[in-house]
C-alpha cells in the first residue's frame, strides 16, 4: 500500500470573523499515528475537515503526499474516514456498506467480494455481512465503519472522535484494536480526540491544539513529561504549578515551597512556572540525594482510588498541592492532618512557559 505523509503549510481558516485555524503548520510523516488533541473549538475538527475536503481554507496549502489537495473535492482525495456517529448507510447491509467505496472505484465480482470479506475478517465481523446496521451493537458498528474506511487501502485514514460514543470498557478494547490495525495496515492516521488518555495510548505523536494553533507537538511521553507551556501541562494529566523567581546567583527560588533550586536551563525564571506531576512528589527520608527539593507539608484530604491514593496537601508556605502514592507492598495510608516531609527530584521538575 502506498503511504503518504501530510503537510499543513501556514493554513488559516476563517469563518467570518472567527479564526478556526491560525497559521497552522504541521508535517506528519508517512505511516505516522498523529493525534489532534484539544478542547472543543481548538480547531482540531476544522483541521480534519480540511483534510477530508469538507471545508476549504482561507490561506496556505495542504498536501497529502506530494499533491496539494486544496482544490480537490472529497471524492478525489482517496482518504478513509471514520466518523464519530459511524455514519453507516442505514439502507445497506454491512457487506454493502463496506463494498460502497469499492463499487465507486469500479470494483466488481470476485475481487470486490474478497476485499470486503478481508476487511470484515480483520474487524472480526466476517459472519455479519448480511445484517443491517441497526441490528448491530455500538462496538460492531464502529468496526464496520472502520472496515469501510480502510477497505480501499487509502494511504491516509482520518478518525473523528471515533470512540466517543462507546462506553469505557469497549473504548479501551477498541483502542488496542485500532493500534493493531495501524500496525497491520501501515497507513498514516490522523486521530481527533478530546480524550487525553486516548491520545497518549494510541499516538506516535500528539499535537495539542489551542485556539487554532498547535500548543505543542511531540511524542506522547514528551508531551506528558516535558510540556512546554502551562496550558499543555494542565491539559494533559494533573500537575502542580509553582511560581518561580530569579533568585541569588543563577538559582531559582520557589516561594510556595520556601526553597531554592539551581537553574534548570539558561532561559531565566521570568514568565515561567515550574510543573511537577503528582506522582513525582513523594515522602522523603534522610538518605535522599542532594538533587531532591524537599519541603514540609500537611495532608488535608485523602482520595482513595484503589491502586493508588491521591493526597491534597498544603505546604508550610500555604500553597496547595496534590501528590500521589502507589499502594505497593506495605504502604501505609496517610490521614488528613498528618505532617510530612515531601520532595521531588530536580529532574522531574519542568519549567513551562506561562501560556
Amino acid at each position: 500500500m502506498a503511504v503518504a505523509g501530510i503537510t499543513f503549510e501556514n493554513v488559516t481558516k476563517r469563518y467570518g470573523a472567527v479564526v478556526a485555524l491560525d497559521q497552522f503548520n504541521l508535517t506528519v510523516a508517512p505511516g505516522e499515528f498523529m493525534t489532534f488533541l484539544g478542547p472543543s473549538g481548538s480547531g482540531k475538527t476544522t483541521a480534519l475537515n480540511i483534510l477530508a475536503g469538507f471545508a476549504g481554507i482561507t490561506e496556505g496549502n495542504v498536501r497529502i503526499g506530494d499533491r496539494s489537495v486544496v482544490n480537490l473535492p472529497p471524492e478525489k482525495r482517496n482518504v478513509g474516514m471514520v466518523f464519530q456517529s459511524y455514519s453507516l448507510f442505514p439502507h445497506l447491509t454491512v457487506f454493502e456498506n463496506v463494498a460502497f467505496p469499492l463499487r465507486l472505484r469500479g470494483e466488481r465480482g470476485a475481487t470486490l467480494e474478497t476485499k470486503v470479506r478481508g476487511a470484515l475478517e480483520m474487524v472480526h465481523l466476517a459472519e455479519f455481512g448480511k445484517r443491517m446496521p441497526n441490528e448491530l451493537s455500538g462496538g460492531q458498528r464502529q468496526r464496520v465503519a472502520f472496515a469501510r474506511a480502510v477497505v480501499f487501502e487509502p494511504p491516509v485514514l482520518l478518525m473523528d472522535e471515533p470512540l466517543g460514543a462507546l462506553d469505557l470498557k469497549l473504548r479501551e478494547q477498541m483502542q488496542l484494536e485500532i493500534k493493531r490495525y495501524h500496525q497491520q495496515l501501515g497507513c498514516t492516521i490522523i486521530f481527533v480526540t478530546h480524550d487525553q488518555g486516548e491520545a497518549l495510548t494510541l499516538s506516535d505523536r500528539v499535537a495539542v491544539m489551542r485556539d487554532g494553533k498547535i500548543a505543542q507537538v511531540d511524542t506522547a511521553q514528551d508531551i506528558y513529561d516535558r510540556p512546554s507551556t502551562r496550558y499543555v501541562a494542565e491539559f494533559i494529566g494533573r500537575t502542580n504549578l509553582f511560581e518561580i523567581e530569579q533568585g541569588q546567583g543563577n538559582g531559582w527560588s520557589i516561594a510556595a515551597l520556601g526553597t531554592q533550586m539551581a537553574a534548570l536551563d539558561d532561559h531565566g525564571a521570568a514568565g515561567r512556572t515550574l510543573s511537577v506531576r503528582p506522582e513525582k512528589i513523594r515522602q522523603i527520608g534522610q538518605g535522599d540525594a542532594d538533587t531532591t527539593i524537599s519541603f514540609d507539608a500537611r495532608v488535608t484530604d485523602v482520595v482513595f482510588q484503589g491502586d493508588h491514593v491521591q493526597y491534597q496537601a498544603v505546604t508550610s508556605g500555604g500553597a496547595p498541592l496534590t501528590f500521589q502514592e502507589h499502594r505497593g507492598h506495605g504502604a501505609r495510608l496517610q490521614q488528613a492532618g498528618d505532617a510530612l516531609r515531601l520532595g521531588f527530584d530536580v529532574a522531574d521538575a519542568v519549567p513551562v512557559q506561562n501560556q
Partner: protein, 277 residues
C-alpha cells in the same frame, strides 16, 4: 391487562369510523346491488358504456399525471428546504403552507381569474401584443392538471420534507469522502433514504386526486369530467343506485391503484439500490 385497558383509547375513533365510514360504505354497497332486488346491472352499465370507461381511465390518468408532476416538482423543493439552515427551513415551510389556508374552491376560482378570457394572462398577452385576441385556456385538460398540481404540491413537498429530515446529513459527507461524486451521493444515499416518504407522498396525492370534484367541474370542459363529477351528475338525475355503483368502483379502483403503485415503487427501489453494482 395493560393492553386491554389501552384499547379504550381507540374507542372514540372506532365509534366515529363505524358510524360515519363503515356503515355508509355498506349502505352504498347495498344500494349499488339492490334496486330493489339483487342486480348487477349498474356495474354492467358502467363497464359496457364507453363514456363511463373513458371517465374512469381519465380519472386514473389525470391523478397519476398530477401525482408524478407533484413528485418531480416537489422533491427538489423539499430537498432544497432540507439543506437550508434550520431557521430558514421553518420560514420556507411556512411559505409552502400558506396556500393551504385557503379552500380548494377559492384556489380554483383564483385560476379562473388568472386564466379567463378577460383574465390576467390574456390581458397581459394582448397588452404586450403577444396575442391578437383572448387565448382559450379555461376548460382545457392542461388547466385542470395545472390547477390540481398547484393545489396538491404543498402536500407532496411536506411529505417529502418530513422524510428528508430523518436523513443524517453526515451520511452524505461519508459518501463523498468514500469516493462518491455529488450526484452519486445523491442517487446512492439521499434518494434511497428519502424514497419511502416520497412514494407515500405520491400515493397520497394520487389518492386525493382520484376524488377531485370542484377543480375539473369549474376549470375543465366536458372532456375533463372525472369520476366524482360523474357521480354528482347521476345524483342530480336521481340515479342513486348507479351513483352508488360508481362510488364503489372509485373506491376499488383507488385501492387497487395504491397497491399497484406501492408494489411498483418497491420494485423500482430495488433497482435503485442496484445502481452501480
Amino acid at each position: 391487562m395493560k393492553r386491554l385497558s389501552l384499547i379504550w383509547l381507540l374507542l372514540p375513533a372506532a365509534l366515529l369510523l363505524a358510524a360515519f365510514i363503515v356503515m355508509p360504505t355498506f349502505d352504498l354497497i347495498r344500494a349499488s346491488i339492490f334496486d330493489p332486488e339483487f342486480t348487477l346491472k349498474h356495474f354492467q352499465r358502467l363497464v359496457e358504456r364507453g363514456v363511463y370507461v373513458d371517465v374512469m381511465w381519465r380519472t386514473v390518468r389525470v391523478s397519476l399525471i398530477v401525482a408524478v408532476i407533484c413528485t418531480i416538482v416537489g422533491y427538489p423543493v423539499a430537498m432544497f428546504i432540507n439543506l437550508q439552515p434550520k431557521k430558514r427551513q421553518v420560514a420556507l415551510l411556512f411559505l409552502i403552507l400558506i396556500p393551504m389556508w385557503m379552500s380548494v374552491l377559492i384556489r380554483t376560482f383564483a385560476w379562473i381569474v388568472v386564466l379567463g378570457r378577460e383574465g390576467l394572462i390574456n390581458d397581459l398577452m394582448i397588452g404586450l401584443g403577444l396575442a391578437d385576441g383572448p387565448v382559450q385556456m379555461l376548460y382545457t385538460s392542461g388547466t385542470v392538471i395545472t390547477a390540481m398540481v398547484q393545489i396538491m404540491l404543498p402536500i407532496q413537498i411536506i411529505t417529502c420534507y418530513s422524510a428528508m429530515t430523518e436523513i443524517d446529513l453526515d451520511l452524505m459527507r461519508a459518501a463523498r469522502v468514500l469516493g462518491a461524486r455529488r450526484w452519486q451521493a445523491l442517487t446512492r444515499v439521499y434518494l434511497p433514504l428519502s424514497y419511502d416518504g416520497t412514494l407515500t407522498g405520491l400515493v397520497i396525492v394520487f389518492m386525493m386526486s382520484m376524488g377531485f370534484f370542484i377543480t375539473p367541474a369549474l376549470l375543465g370542459g366536458r372532456q375533463d369530467m372525472m369520476i366524482a363529477n360523474l357521480i354528482e351528475f347521476q345524483v342530480q338525475h336521481l340515479n342513486w343506485s348507479f351513483a352508488a355503483a360508481i362510488g364503489i368502483v372509485l373506491l376499488v379502483l383507488t385501492v387497487a391503484m395504491i397497491l399497484l403503485l406501492r408494489w411498483t415503487g418497491r420494485f423500482a427501489f430495488r433497482r435503485l439500490l442496484n445502481v452501480g453494482r
